[in-house]
Structure formats: structure tokens, C-alpha cells
């Protein structure tokens, strides 16, 4: 069913509803907890699993090709900037823990507020440059590649 929600862990907070890219995590009006309303539109992207503050959401592989009895669990920590996975095979013979960074900087602090950077000059506007260019292309003093600089032409028809 791709994602499913454990009855005893979900408190109906709706974080999964808020994040699901496919709009398939909804709150059941009777039990007031989240559930997957449309499993065949679930990508197993784990966005809801990662967002759930109670680890109440899990994934059971697609019924048409995945046998029961496996587990792929995750914890994502924005403060520490890491994500931790645990994969357990159906036969129990493989049990892996994998850790990966998710960012190298404090969350969002190093993204510029473009409203506050100096405005582009008229010359810049008339050029082909984008923000931070040409510097950020190669971190040297050169400019942007053009047909002329790279000694190229565009010619119609079959190329050889």
C-alpha cells in the first residue's frame, strides 16, 4: 500500500498531509488520524515518513511485486544535518544502517536574500550574465562562453 500509518502512534497532527507531493495523505474523519487514500499514486518518496514527528508512518512495498516482511526506516534531522536509514531484509539476513549528510550549512542561513544585494547595472542587464556571473562560472577572471569565443557556428542541416 506504499505508505501506511500506525494507529497507536499517529495523533492526527497533519504534517504528512501538509507535505505529501501527491496529495494522498489525508485525515480520516472517523478515527482522526492520517492514512493513504490512494496507494497507486504513492511514489514511496518517503516525504511523509520523514516529516512525521511520531515515526507513525511506514512503507510496505507495492503489493503487486513486493513480498511482505521487509523494513526500510528513516530518521531525518535538520539540526544535525543528517539522515539515518535502516534496511532489514525479509529473511533477516541483512540488516544495514546507513548515514548520510543532508546539508553542510546551518539550515537556510547561506542562501542570499536577492532583494538586498546590489542591483545589476544596465550593462549587466544587457549582457547574457545571470546573478553572480561571470564570477561563479569558473571562479576566474574570464567571461561567458559564446559562439565567437569558442570558435563555433550554427549551421542548418545534417552535421558531419
Amino acid at each position: 500500500m506504499p505508505t501506511f500509518v500506525y494507529m497507536t502512534r499517529c495523533d492526527g497532527c497533519g504534517q504528512c498531509v501538509d507535505i505529501c507531493p501527491s496529495d494522498i495523505m489525508h485525515i480520516d474523519p472517523v478515527v482522526r488520524r492520517a492514512y493513504n487514500i490512494e496507494p497507486n499514486m504513492c511514489w514511496e518518496c518517503y516525504s511523509c515518513v520523514k516529516a512525521c514527528p511520531h515515526n507513525a508512518i511506514d512503507v510496505r512495498g507495492y503489493a503487486d511485486f513486493a513480498p511482505l516482511g521487509h523494513s526500510v526506516r528513516v530518521r531525518r534531522d535538520e539540526e544535525k544535518g543528517v539522515i539515518a536509514w535502516r534496511i532489514i531484509f525479509r529473511n533477516g539476513e541483512k540488516d544495514m544502517n546507513l548515514l548520510a549528510p543532508i546539508t553542510t550549512k546551518p539550515w537556510g542561513k547561506h542562501i542570499p536574500q536577492l532583494a538586498d544585494v546590489p542591483p545589476p547595472s544596465d550593462e549587466m542587464r544587457d549582457s547574457q550574465y545571470l546573478f553572480n556571473e561571470p564570477k561563479y562560472i569558473r571562479f576566474d577572471d574570464g567571461g561567458l562562453h559564446t559562439l565567437e569565443s569558442n570558435k563555433l557556428q550554427l549551421k542548418a542541416g545534417v552535421y558531419e
Binding site: 496529495d23 539550515w107 542562501i111 536577492l114 561563479y136 562562453h145 557556428q153
Partner: protein
């Protein structure tokens, strides 16, 4: 309907769809339009939306001119070879010359790019790919877009573009509805950047039942990039160029890192190498220009993705399947084994779930591969999308009409999957295209081209009625039956999607017919699509969620019709392994070394097709090796 109408007036730039293209556009627009009103409309939540919602383990488009690796024209040549010559080289060159500046900013924002400890350069996976820990790729770029935009409307599904009533063929904004509140949203805007997604789920998938969600491209990629632009009468190009992916079976886990970095390789069910035996006949079929075995051997020229698919499909049809990925050698190295698993966790968790469920340990067993159902998109090894203007310093006259990445509708720009002829842009290239479109859109406004747009209440109300019609229709006819989903007056979105997938599969070269079609089949397919269009007028939505599915289906339908017309128009088999025209089984450069361009008349629904010249980059002087500018 009790739903409120919420009008957002005085927008300068409206970004429809906030995946990698849309976040790039929103971010960059603020720099060139300090005082401009920049608004984003996204049908999901910008933090996890679009094709990169679950993350990526590689950035597949990075030149590395900084490290002396590639020049932009090298990438253009690569994309050209891979797509059998059918690309927009002006747009590709432009994307490639800017893409590194995008990637360098991503690193500065905190995206973990791996470094090669020996060279200090980014860790290469292949010539164009660099490896990243990209679980949070999307939340990071979303942060950049949110900092730039005046407003981000999450959960607003854009259904139509608004057209200006004072000047023909000029865009004036968009409308849609909020997937939570149901409210009707009207955005009046001088310029619009369509950065919505390509299309999964228009061809019948191999999976049945639940597994239909495990499509290669995200299930929420509903072809809205095309649905919106085709609906507004924008010209489209290369829509026949759907893509088929060779991937790990059922989970569709990525193979790039396996081939390129782990050095795994494929073999048939007998444990034999199989590709090379199909190539001599294929060389005959496509011509030496596209597959030259001797030249490829000497120069390591890449073999186009579609042709490798062709060998795969042919071998399976010859009864020597399954095709296996030989992982047992690479996975003996614990470091490579870990990378193999991280690669899935970073971008296709479902494949890890499947291997855990089936006890597939690639260290002791070579996993199966398969070829997928076709997908329609414009940023992987395929270039479907709108016919857009290129940059003025690069594009020839036929490719230039004033503003970079502007479609043939004035004020309507594209980025990512929306732009045609620009394959191999991937995530970084799509973000870069968004930036280019945003700068051009600002210029369009500064030049006064968006002045005096007029949208009447009549247009707004007409669209409103149309948007909610599936819910009205449901209400009217639901109580004629006792219950259930069978009703003689309507179909629901799932039923419509099933019909679309079946007919696209059977008539337009899907997986059950081994990607084969011909003129007769395509003509029948077009008729059936018209009948489906009539039934889509009787689509029923029980609630707002189904209304979302209804509009996704309508966008998928418009996309499909365009694909069918384009496939019919191009009378050749340009990409064996993506699809075959059984009545024209060769590459025909004499007649078809051209880009296909279509327009659907928004009033009549009639299609017109034309050929556009295909320009290629050539060296000024033979063998002249360009240095950095």
C-alpha cells in the same frame, strides 16, 4: 459553488509549478526585478514538490570548466549524439554555459557535493555527472525560491492560463483552485513562467494495482507543462520523442551510478554479453552517422540511449531474457556496496524497499533489469516541450523572437520540462533554465511588453465554471444510481486515466506492443482520443482531491494528443528503442533531419504540423579547440 474567488492582481511574474525549473525562476527573478511582484503557484508543497521531491544522488549536468573538464559545446555534442541529432543546440549551449554557476551556488547554500580527494574537483560519476548527498536538494532550492518570491501559493493547482483580451496571443496570468480549501484562484500577471512537469502515467505501466505508483517519473508529473501551454495555443516541438528507460526491474531504481561509478555491466539470461550483436543491423537501420561501430570503438563515442534500449528489447524478444545487471563483482568492495545502496536511498527509496522485500543482495545475486513504459518529458534523455526562443547572441533567426525561453505566446516563458529540444538538462539545467527565463521575463516587462493586459470577468467566470464542472457533474448524476462507480453519465478520473493509458499503449507504441506503432494505428488512436475528450467533458469528481485528479487527467490528455500527432507526422523511426514506426523502420535524414513543430488551435482543437530546421554547432575551423572565454 460556495467556493470563494480570490484574485491576485498586479503580478509581474507568475511561476506555475515550483520544481527545479520554477524555484530557479522565482529565485533569479528577484535579482533582475527588485521591485517586481513575483508569485509562485504550486499544486503541492514547494518543500517537497516536483520530480526532485525525494532527492537526488547525482547532479547529471555539470560542465566543470573550472576544473578544465568540459566546455559547453562538448555537452551539446553529447546531447546531439544521444538524441540522434534532434536537439535545439542554441538552447543547449546557453544552458550549458550557465549551469556551472548554478551548481556552485548550490554548494554555497549547503547542498553536499562530494569531492574527489585526489584532485579536489567534484567527484565525477561520469563525464557529466557529479555525485551529491541530495536528500535535501529540494528543500534547499525551495528555501532560495521562498526568499525571493513575494508570495508562494502552496496547494494551488493551476488549470488554465489566462489570455489577454487587448492583444491577441499574449498571456495575462493563470487560474486554478486550492486543493485544500477548494477556493478559485485568479492570478493576473504580465508574464508567466510555466515550469510545471512532464508526464508520467500516460502510457499503461508495466505494474498493475498499487505498483502503478512506482512509475519512473513522479506520479504527480501530470504533463501540466504541456497541458497549460498547448491549451493556450503555444507551439510545441519534439513531442513524439518520448523516452523509455532501462532500469532495475519493478522498482525502476536508477542505473547511472551503477554503470558509471560502480562499473557494473549487463548480460542476458545466459550470462552473455548481448549488445554488440545487435549493432551491425542497427547500424544499417539508423545509418553510420548515428551508429558507427568502428568510430565509437576508437573515439569512445557514446552509443545513444535509445539504441542501447533497442539491443535490450531485441534480446528479450529473442527469448534470452532476463537482462541482468552484473553487480556481484563491484559489490565485493564494501565501499562500492554502500554507494550502491545510498544511491537508491537518495532518490528511489522504493528500489531499496523492493530488494529488502525480495532478499536481493546484489553482492551475491545479479538483479534483473527491465525497459519501462514510455514517458513524455523534456529534461532527461528526451526533449519534448514548447517551441521557445533562444538567446540573441547564439540563436539563428528561426530560433529567435525577442526573449530567451519565451514560447510562441507573448509573455509566456518556459523552464525545465516545459522547454522543447533541450534534453540532458536534468535538475541543475532545469534550475538554470528557470533563471534564464526569469531574467528574460523581467526584460520583457521592463520593455513595456506586458503593459495594458486586460482580463474580463467573463473570461474569469467562464474558466471558473469549467474548473468546477466535474464536481457539478458528479452532484447532478450521482443520485441517479444506488452506489458504486458505474454510472452511464460520467466516468471518474481513475477510469479516464485507465482508458488513456490503454489506448496510448496500444496505438502509440507502449510496452505491451514492444513500442511499435504505425500510421493506421495512430489514426485510430487519434479518433479514440477525441472520443475520450468528449467523455472528459463528463468527468465526475466526488471531492476536491478528485478534482485535482480530474485536471491532471485533462492535462495528460492534451499531452497525449500532441504526442500522437507528432508521432504520426514524423514518418521515420528516428529513435529505435524509444518507439518504432513499423511503416517506416529507418532513420530518414533526407526528409526528417528536422524538428517537428505543432500548434493546437485553442478554439477548434485542430492541429497544424510543420517542420523546422535543425541547426548544429560546428567548429569555425576544423579541429579548432576553444579555450575558455
Amino acid at each position: 459553488m460556495a467556493y470563494k474567488t480570490i484574485v491576485e492582481d498586479g503580478i509581474d511574474i507568475l511561476v506555475c509549478g515550483a520544481g527545479l525549473g520554477g524555484t530557479g525562476a522565482a529565485f533569479e527573478a528577484r535579482y533582475w526585478g527588485k521591485d517586481k511582484n513575483i508569485v509562485v503557484a504550486e499544486k503541492a508543497n514547494i518543500d517537497r514538490s516536483g520530480a526532485v521531491a525525494q532527492g537526488l544522488y547525482a547532479i547529471n549536468c555539470y560542465m566543470g570548466t573550472r576544473f578544465g573538464e568540459n566546455n559547453p559545446e562538448d555537452h551539446v555534442r553529447y546531447a546531439r549524439i544521444d538524441l540522434m541529432g534532434m536537439v535545439r543546440e542554441d538552447l543547449l549551449f546557453d544552458m550549458a554555459r550557465h549551469v556551472d554557476s548554478t551548481v556552485h551556488q548550490f554548494e554555497e547554500w549547503g547542498l553536499p557535493l562530494m569531492r574527489n580527494p585526489k584532485t579536489g574537483a567534484y567527484q565525477r560519476e561520469g563525464r557529466w555527472q557529479i555525485m551529491i548527498h541530495g536528500e535535501s536538494y529540494k528543500p534547499i532550492v525551495a528555501e532560495a525560491a521562498k526568499k525571493s518570491a513575494d508570495k508562494v501559493f502552496n496547494r494551488v493547482c493551476v488549470t488554465h492560463l489566462l489570455m489577454d483580451e487587448s492583444k491577441e496571443n499574449r498571456v495575462a496570468g493563470a487560474v486554478g483552485f486550492n486543493v485544500r480549501t477548494g477556493n478559485y484562484h485568479v492570478f493576473k500577471s504580465k508574464a508567466v513562467v510555466v515550469a510545471a512537469g512532464g508526464a508520467s502515467n500516460i502510457f499503461k505501466p508495466r505494474s498493475v494495482g498499487e505498483g502503478a505508483g512506482r512509475v519512473w517519473y513522479a506520479p504527480w508529473s501530470s504533463g501540466s507543462a504541456y497541458g497549460l501551454m498547448i491549451g493556450a495555443g503555444a507551439k510545441m516541438t519534439q513531442m513524439e520523442n518520448r523516452i523509455v528507460l532501462a532500469r532495475f526491474k519493478d522498482g525502476y531504481g536508477p542505473v547511472g551510478a551503477y554503470f558509471l561509478h560502480l562499473k557494473t555491466y549487463t548480460q542476458n539470461g545466459m550470462g552473455e554479453e548481448y549488445e554488440s550483436k545487435w549493432f551491425p543491423a542497427l547500424e544499417e537501420m539508423v545509418g553510420k552517422r548515428y551508429l558507427d561501430l568502428e568510430a565509437s570503438h576508437v573515439s569512445h563515442r557514446p552509443i545513444p540511449t535509445c539504441l542501447r534500449n533497442h539491443a535490450f528489447i531485441s534480446e528479450v524478444n529473442a527469448g534470452r531474457g532476463p537482462i541482468h545487471m552484473v553487480t556481484m563483482e563491484a559489490f565485493q568492495d564494501p565501499h562500492l556496496e554502500e554507494i550502491g545502496w545510498h544511491n537508491f536511498l537518495g532518490m528511489t527509496v522504493g528500489q531499496a524497499v523492493l530488494w529488502a522485500a525480495t532478499d536481493v543482495n546484489p553482492k551475491y545475486e545479479n538483479p534483473e533489469l527491465t525497459t519501462s513504459e514510455p514517458y513524455v518529458m523534456g529534461s532527461h534523455a528526451t526533449g519534448c516541450g514548447a517551441w521557445c526562443s533562444g538567446p540573441e547572441d547564439v540563436s539563428p533567426d528561426e530560433y529567435f523572437w525577442g526573449y530567451n525561453r519565451m514560447t510562441t505566446v507573448e509573455g509566456l516563458f518556459g523552464a525545465g520540462d516545459a522547454v522543447g529540444g533541450t534534453p540532458h538538462a536534468f535538475s541543475s539545467g532545469s534550475f538554470t533554465e528557470g533563471r534564464l527565463a526569469a531574467k528574460a521575463a523581467c526584460k520583457y516587462i521592463d520593455d513595456g511588453k506586458g503593459e495594458g493586459i486586460r482580463v474580463s470577468d467573463a473570461q474569469i467566470n467562464r474558466r471558473k465554471e469549467e474548473v468546477y464542472k466535474p464536481m457539478e457533474h458528479y452532484k447532478i448524476y450521482r443520485n441517479e444510481i444506488t452506489g458504486g462507480s458505474v454510472n452511464p453519465n460520467y466516468i471518474n478520473p481513475r477510469q479516464g486515466l485507465d482508458r488513456l493509458q490503454k489506448l496510448m499503449d496500444e496505438y502509440c507504441g507502449g510496452v505491451t506492443v514492444s513500442y511499435m506503432t504505425n500510421e493506421k494505428l495512430l489514426n485510430i488512436g487519434l479518433k479514440k482520443l477525441k472520443l475520450l475528450e468528449e467523455d472528459l467533458d463528463k468527468l465526475a469528481a466526488e471531492n476536491i482531491h478528485e478534482l485535482l485528479r480530474a485536471w491532471e487527467l485533462k492535462h495528460r490528455h492534451l499531452t497525449s494528443e500532441s504526442v500522437m500527432h507528432h508521432t504520426l507526422f514524423r514518418k521515420e523511426t528516428r529513435w529505435p528503442g524509444y518507439y518504432y514506426r513499423g511503416d517506416a523502420m529507418k532513420v530518414d535524414d533526407e526528409n526528417w533531419h528536422v524538428l517537428t513543430v505543432s500548434r493546437r488551435d485553442p478554439e477548434t482543437g485542430e492541429y497544424t504540423m510543420e517542420k523546422a530546421p535543425c541547426y548544429h554547432l560546428i567548429d569555425d575551423e576544423p579541429k579548432a579547440k576553444a579555450k575558455a572565454a
